[in-house]
Symmetry: C3
């Protein structure tokens, strides 16, 4: 529970209306909850905001919501993300600093203020930076380096030799550094190629729940700074992602493929191996990227094309057939 | 090992043939195992049943299998599901009522006859209902509410604030309440929007192995009573599923999408965010649902259409090409 | 660090050049690392190898790389897989033979030289063969049989009654033997059919990270000898895979489908239930296999066809549309 003037002061927002109003949490406009704070990002939502039961909004100074308490910020959605930090409740508070049941190798180095949960395993020569929290049931194997202010949720696995930068967030059940899928056919059998490399997650990377990032075959798999990976994504060995990419759920990137910066994949995208995708590419959901991409833009389809070409092809695919429906 | 007259008596089936016959387990018709009990649901399978090595069948009274011991029930597949409960063997029997290695916060409330396995972690202010079993290695975080007669298999994670009704079944490795995938772009970076909401799984929900259900952004993600989710499914933040839906493996539903009741998705379906799908919709495997659906029926395709229209479009897509094959 | 003459002697390679050269590890040709050993499989890569900074190569006797130390073997990629074993570093070395925190049922039988990590749970009547290693946090339930020389990575789950042969490799987070997805509709509800069967993984099977293999409904799900499964794959109940198959990431095979030997699926393939796919079939990525396959060959598409037919159909799908681009 926070008074709006507390919030305004803490984040430097200008306040208009009753400063003593108390809010219990945040909500979206469509949630329409009394006693909560919401936000308005675009003029088209102002009327709905005004009609709603929500008593207070973060909005832009040029878009005050009549009859509501307003907190002003030039980028309301960013502002609400900041305010949200106030309402994050403590997680698994029974975790002691270093839980008695954790199994920590004597050679491991834990920086000050590290939190290690119940049943966590920390391997030989592993180093964990200040204020990083490893939650219950997670296993961090040998020679791993984890930076400062990371948070590894329960039952994740970080296999040997992985490197995590600062402020890396690993959701529950994610697997960092599993073996790459590499075999050589020899006398009718698939002989495993030992996967000797590692995974590097640069600063501010987030890895979704039950996502898997395979270690490099001989060298490394690397995810660039600020890139966010959703749940159940597969990143194969030797993949390299640039900075500030967004890879949505259930997408998969085959081995040795490289992405530039600010590449966005919607859900269930599949990408072939050994190709390069340049910066500033967006691929729509369920597309199949079968070749390298040298031109920034939006792509879609199976196999993929620039989105306008995919849309034309789909229109022809359903032509007359869609028309029949209209006659129904 | 059960005598057929025991089975008949326990479930109220009428028996025809040798009541002293003993069966060691259940099998499908194609498994063709001597000493087992099977079932026949449709007249077309009666001849195969008669020829098989299987000595006994659950069947409808009007469809007796000649030469076999028969147990009669109007719905044989339902009847065999009941009988199957007899053959479920104890699971991880070494689990004590409350295993000594479990880490249970003193504020947690465990109802009578709760079973907590080895290395389970139970968070602060969490409440667990009667006869619920949490199997080894699972982590249930703070302020979680779990109802009666639930079963959480090993190495699952139930994150803070989740609510599970009665008789909820969570398969191994499932993640309930991971952060939703929500960022706001600000000065070229993706700033995380704190995911403050929760997950609600209503009564009789089943969650498959390694499936992920993300918590609501500000409010909740909710799965309606009796809905069954298969393995490796992704349900994003703020998704709402109605009652008695079936979501098959590797399907993904994007954020804030709502499904009605009795919606069925075959495997690998992808659904866009912020759309509504009405009750009694079926979507065939690998389809891409890009828009809301207001009319019950069967849909398929990428992008999806009513199934007959998709089939026509596919026929045209392969026309002449398929014909060439026929000339081969 | 190994001298090349040590490597040559250990694996019986012929050596040409400085026998005292020391290499620190392996690398791919494109990694171009000084002080490492690489390999050349095809004449087209010889020039790049010669120009590279890599000092030593495994290559065929008829393809020596000028100016480099060469180790000769008729199948260089196989040879490098062998050499790779030298460079595999110890994993989670703090694991004692049987870690004190492991919870092992007194009836379980552990063969000599078994390694059991921290917080591992081993169920009743489970048997584990010689030299098998179960890494931290994994749960092996009741009546499981695991053969010799297996390796189960952290936080995997092997549910009751599963059978693993020799040299089976289970990557982290994999779930073996979760319930199949089987329900019977009765009075408007989905009634669970108890999943009474088991999973059998034959010798030399590998299961990828966070992959799920469901137990048989009444009988078994079986993966044939030498078959390798990638990450996040779903194998439904009663599926049977033959020997030496390769199933790439995020593919899914529906219930009761059978594959022959040497079947290869690229990533994100979906396969319908209750169909048979013969030996020596390859399916390209993201395809949808909707019917049985009786003819060996390469298939692709949604829905799938022999690959040349799919390619023709795609060419027509984009015809003129792709042409327009060419005019740009």
């Amino acid at each position: 529970m926070y008074r709006l003037d507390e919030i305004a002061e803490r984040f430097g927002f200008e306040l208009q209306g009753d400063p003593a109003l108390v809010v219990a949490g945040l909500c979206g406009l469509s949630d329409d909850l009394p006693g909560h704070l919401s936000f308005v990002g675009a003029p088209k939502h102002a009327a709905a905001a005004q009609r709603s039961n929500i008593p207070a909004f973060v909005t832009r100074a040029e878009l005050p919501i009549e009859g509501k308490v307003c907190l002003f910020h030039p980028h309301p959605e960013y502002a609400i993300a900041l305010v949200g930090q106030l309402f994050e409740r403590s997680k698994l508070t029974q975790v002691a600093r270093i839980h008695a049941s954790a199994d920590i190798h004597p050679s491991a180095e834990l920086a000050p203020d590290v939190v290690i949960g119940a049943n966590v395993v920390i391997g030989q020569d592993t180093r964990i930076g200040p204020r990083t929290r490893i939650m219950p049931g997670s296993v961090v194997m040998d020679r791993v380096q984890i930076g400062a202010d990371c948070l590894v949720y329960p039952n994740a696995v970080v296999r040997e030799d992985s490197v995590l930068g600062d402020r890396v967030l690993v959701q529950p059940g994610a697997i960092i550094g599993g073996d790459g899928y590499g075999f050589v056919q020899y006398e009718g059998r698939h002989v495993k190629i030992p996967q000797l490399g590692r995974v590097v997650l640069e600063d501010d990377v987030e890895i979704g729940a039950n996502t898997t990032v395979d270690r490099g075959r001989f060298t490394e798999t690397r995810i660039g700074r600020g890139t966010k990976i959703d749940n159940l994504v597969m990143l194969a060995h030797n993949v390299r992602l640039g900075e500030n990419c967004l890879i949505c759920a259930q997408s998969g990137i085959s081995g040795s493929t490289r992405l530039g910066d600010r590449v966005t994949f919607a859900g269930q995208v599949g990408v072939a191996g050994h190709i390069d995708i340049c910066s500033d590419v967006t691929v729509l959901g369920k597309s199949s990227v079968t070749k390298g991409v040298r031109t920034p833009g939006v792509y879609a389809g199976i196999p993929f094309r620039p989105v306008e070409r995919w849309r034309k092809a789909v229109a022809r695919f359903y032509r007359d057939i869609d028309h029949e429906r209209d006659k129904d």
